[in-house]
């Protein structure tokens, strides 16, 4: 678990892969938010004003989707690009 296990080259490759992965993932979470803001802001506000239980469920689903699906999508994309995940 210590840094000494890694050679300089391994570290360089690791950080490069990780940086690319973060850029892809960061872009997707931002896009997801912008799409949610563009298409869901008004329906969410209506739901918030009229049915808080349904709003609560939709809110939880939105946050879970942002975390799970986008992460899975990033993994798939990284694999498709022929890169190794920084794990």
């Amino acid at each position: 678990m210590s840094e000494s296990r890694y050679t300089r080259q391994e570290l360089k490759r690791f950080f490069l892969n990780f940086a690319i992965e973060l850029v892809i993932y960061g872009g997707m979470v931002t896009l997801y938010f912008l799409l949610a803001l563009r298409y869901l802001a008004d329906p969410l506000k209506d739901l918030y004003d009229n049915n808080l239980t349904a709003y609560a469920v939709v809110a939880l689903v939105l946050i879970v989707v942002q975390a799970v699906l986008l992460e899975a999508f990033t993994s798939a994309l990284i694999k498709r690009l022929g890169m190794k995940r920084s794990e």
Partner: protein, 302 residues
């Protein structure tokens, strides 16, 4: 940018920035980070009733991202996490009932606030002293970093309790431990979380290490795994009360999800005692923020 649900105008970059900072801390230390995110959110103009609920919502997303990353690194004990959740839920309910009882006597905010400060200082001091001792052990006794714990007596005693059923946690390196010990630790962390009104990650991580003898990296990942459920449940209950602005939470999570990945991956480069040493500063920061709020210098409720 105007957020239609909470009806406030806030620069989304500030929210993403707060999420990023708390994400790094969460991914690295296995804490929710509400004690840091909350005051920052309040300071930039998020209404107090939306602070806790929205923070919990973004915490759910961030913990999913961080625990998935930790799981890939082999740092999550799912069996332990699920059993702990049971104890935690019961503990949270007992803690909440205690608060109700105290509310009737009055002055509840001050009592809970100073109890919170005391517990934070206790955890911070203990973890700091222990981790310094553990780092010395690695240097002088040549003990493998994974096994170096400056205070392992309590975990050994807990492992010695032979009340059936006995279970094992191979992912945590625990051969045999009483189920009741695990449930008890979950209950204690839940009780403190329910009583203090916080997520409890900063209590659970040290308890996992010092009481159950779980390696630091696994404690961090397992703690995050448990936060997914506790914060998810908290999000639902707060959203039903109208205290969650999900659009705000999604902005925060754009930063937090990236920060959490950086934090989680960074644990690869630090040994357990070093992580615990760095962790020990967090409770002091949390205590300082609570004292400022109790003295009325920093706005918002405790």
């Amino acid at each position: 940018m105007e957020f239609p649900i909470s009806e406030v105008t806030i620069n989304p970059l500030y929210l993403a920035g707060i999420g990023f900072l708390v994400g790094i801390l969460g991914g690295f230390f296995g804490v929710g980070g509400g004690f840091i995110a909350g005051p920052f959110m309040f300071l930039i103009g998020v209404p107090m009733n939306f602070v806790v609920g929205t923070d919990l919502a973004h915490m759910t997303g961030k913990s999913i991202v961080a625990s998935r990353r930790h799981r890939v690194l082999g740092h999550v004990d799912i069996k332990l996490g699920f059993i702990m959740v049971i104890g935690t839920v019961i503990g949270v309910e007992i803690g909440a009932q205690l608060v109700e009882l105290l509310t009737n006597t009055g002055n509840v905010d001050q009592v809970i606030g100073w109890a919170y400060v005391f517990i934070l200082l206790l955890i911070g001091s203990f973890t700091f002293i222990e981790s310094v001792k553990a780092v010395r052990l690695i240097r002088t006794e040549r003990i493998p970093a994974r096994d170096a714990v400056g205070f392992s007596g309590l975990a050994q005693r807990v492992h010695g309790i032979q009340i059936p059923p006995m279970i094992s946690f191979p992912s945590s390196g625990i051969v045999s431990i009483s189920l009741w010990s695990v449930l008890g630790v979950g209950l204690l962390s839940g009780l403190l979380a329910g009583f203090l009104g916080v997520g409890g990650g900063f209590v659970r991580m040290p308890l996992l290490v010092y009481v159950l003898g779980v390696p630091t990296h696994v404690a961090i990942g397992t703690d995050l795994f448990e936060i997914v459920f506790s914060a998810g449940y908290g999000t639902l209950t707060h959203a039903i009360k109208g205290n969650v602005d999900i659009l705000m939470a999604l902005v925060m999570n754009t930063g937090a999800a990236i920060g959490a990945q950086i934090g989680a991956v960074s644990t690869r480069f630090f040994v357990g005692p070093r992580i615990r040493m760095l962790f020990s500063f967090l409770p002091f920061i949390g205590a300082a923020l609570v004292v400022l709020r109790l003295l009325g210098i920093l706005g918002g409720q405790f």
